[in-house]
């Protein structure tokens, strides 16, 4: 039996703020199956973004156990973690985080910089842009695109290495409702077509309702989990 996309056991993330310790994540234990579309919801400060950082191997300061596709993150060195982020995980951020000095094509191709083996990054980038319908804007700068287009470019960048897992932090948070709906539809399509695991951190109820599973966090704990056994 294949291991789940993510397995969390008693996950804690404590921040030391002066003399006080604040638990951003406080004993989370859950599995996220492969190919599932999961929405993580909760109020500001509930621990959503912290959870995404831990799942994305960006934050190693946690306690407990986190497995990604059966690999214990604590046992991986920086190089292995980098390889994991490069080929297995795709990130989409609320603020897009496109690099303004690069063209759309170069932005989408940028994961190739950190790939172990060289490949035709431009070709792969064009393919990824085609998937999000922005092939014709390849040579534009991100600042000349609309918000929705920028988020689609960010999605194309996340898709460059065809990762099995997409991690999205408020992907519609900076978009109006129409373009937000477009992005939600795109995420659904990416999930369905390739059986990707998509985890979306969101405030937006409309997006959360489209997910197969809804995990609500409060004060770093699971308040509600629609997929709980």
């Amino acid at each position: 039996m294949n291991p789940p996309a993510f397995r969390l056991q008693d996950l804690r993330r404590i921040y030391q703020e002066g003399d006080t310790r604040r638990a951003a994540l406080d004993g989370l234990s859950l599995d996220i199956e492969r190919g599932s579309f999961v929405a993580v919801v909760g109020a500001s400060g509930s621990g959503k973004s912290t959870l995404l950082a831990v799942l994305g191997a960006l934050d190693r300061g946690y306690e407990g156990r986190v497995e990604v596709l059966g690999q214990d993150l604590a046992r991986l060195d920086e190089r292995a973690l980098g390889r994991l982020r490069n080929a297995t995980l795709g990130f989409v951020f609320q603020s897009f985080h496109l690099l303004p000095h690069l063209t759309v094509l170069d932005n989408v191709a940028s994961p190739a910089l950190f790939a172990d083996e060289p490949f035709d990054a431009a070709q792969a980038a064009l393919l990824a842009l085609r998937q999000v319908g922005l092939e014709d804007r390849a040579l534009d700068r991100p600042q000349h695109l609309s918000g929705g287009q920028r988020q689609r470019v960010a999605l194309a960048r996340a898709l460059l290495r065809s990762p099995p897992i997409l991690l999205c932090d408020e992907p519609t948070g900076n978009l109006d409702s129409r373009t937000g709906a477009e992005v939600i539809a795109l995420l659904e399509r990416l999930h369905q077509e390739h059986q990707r695991t998509v985890i979306v951190v969101t405030h937006e109820e409309r997006l959360a309702q489209r997910a197969q599973r809804r995990i609500a966090l409060e004060d770093g704990r699971v308040k509600e989990d629609s997929g709980a056994a």
Binding site: T50, L58, G82, F93, H97, L113, F114
Partner: protein
Amino acid sequence: MRASSLGRLVVGELRRSRGALGASGFGILAGTAALVFFLALGLQVRAVLLGQVFPLDRVELEPAAKPEPGLLTLLVGGGRSPAGVKQETVERLGRMPGVSAVFPRLRFAFPSGAFGGAELIGREIGTHEMLAEGLDARLIAPDLEAGLSFEDPLRKPGAACKEDGDCEKEQYCERASGAPEGVCSAPVPVVVSPYLVELFNKGLAPAHGLPPVGKTLIQKARGITFRFQLGVSMMGKARAGAPRSAKARVVGISPNAMDLGATVPIEVVRRWNQEFHGAEAAGSYSSVVLRMERPDQVATVIRMAEAEGLVPRDTRARDVSVLIAGVIGLLALVAGVILVVASSTIAYTFRVLVNERRVEIGVYRSLGATPGDIGAWWLAVAVVVGLAGGGLGGGVARALAWVIDLLAREKLPDFPFKPATFFQFPGWLLAGGAAAGALFALVGAVAGVRQAARLDPAKALLDP
């Protein structure tokens, strides 16, 4: 991260931040230019001083850190071996590239005195303490008037004898202590230094009411004679042999003669050292004079001879060289201060740039970059800035030197030893300048690089 990826990141950063990095690199350029310029000046000045001004085409070397035997040592302690340069060392020195001839020197290893001068100044004068040394005849011959010789008189020994009366007029009986008989010998030829003549004329002669002995007077006298008192002096006797005397004749004045004392053929000293001090005093030399093929080879030969444990005996060149090195060192220090300031500018620039690139660094981390990849990226930027600044600095130094040489050729009057160029730019200096530029840039950038490598991507991306 692959090298091609690193190259793309570095080129991209250099393009985007050319203003800020250019300003930082300019400091490195200025500092390196000053450093290379002053060092090139120092190298050439030192080469001219060591190669031309002081030793001309020769240098005298002696064993390092061995004090010369003073009178007290000679007399109270019986003297110590006056030489430390073995024959095999002399031969090795002779084979060094650039050395055309080697002339060993050998000092008296026993007490001696000298008395005479009646022919020249009308009455007998002398000293109970006499310093003397032996020198190769080839080194003295060019300074002698025609018809005068500086060869060991026993090369042409006379008849056997027991005392001076057995020999012809002007000869004396050279009979070693304890030997049943000796051979008749011409007087031992002696040369003195112009310095000693000057000292006698300006100091001793007026004090004792004696006439000055000019070179002309010595030439007219055609060889003033005196007697060496061997094996004994005012302060004691030699460790071996019985005191005796030997007849000597001053045959000339030579700048190669020892400053304060008498210089005789080296074979004579070897013989007498063996008689009055034993075989060890005759087996090695006090110092060696090296003649070069070209004056500019002196500095190189001195460096090579240091490996043999020999240093220049005449320290004037070395002292001036040290002085020059000190001055150049101070100027280089100024250049170093410029580099330190440049380094701190780079530190500031890198901190600002890394702060500006927080999100970008975070994005790259999310795309697979390790902290090491990020560090390598910024380190490479620093190295490129440093190498470029350092390399250009070397070029600026060369250009400046060219202008100064041009001005010197046209504006400065000729003076002795005026060089064709005042600067030396060996390849290692230019390469070292570029390396120094890279080093100072790295040192400046290191805090920024650490900051970049340690940046928390989660904070940069999810909590902006």
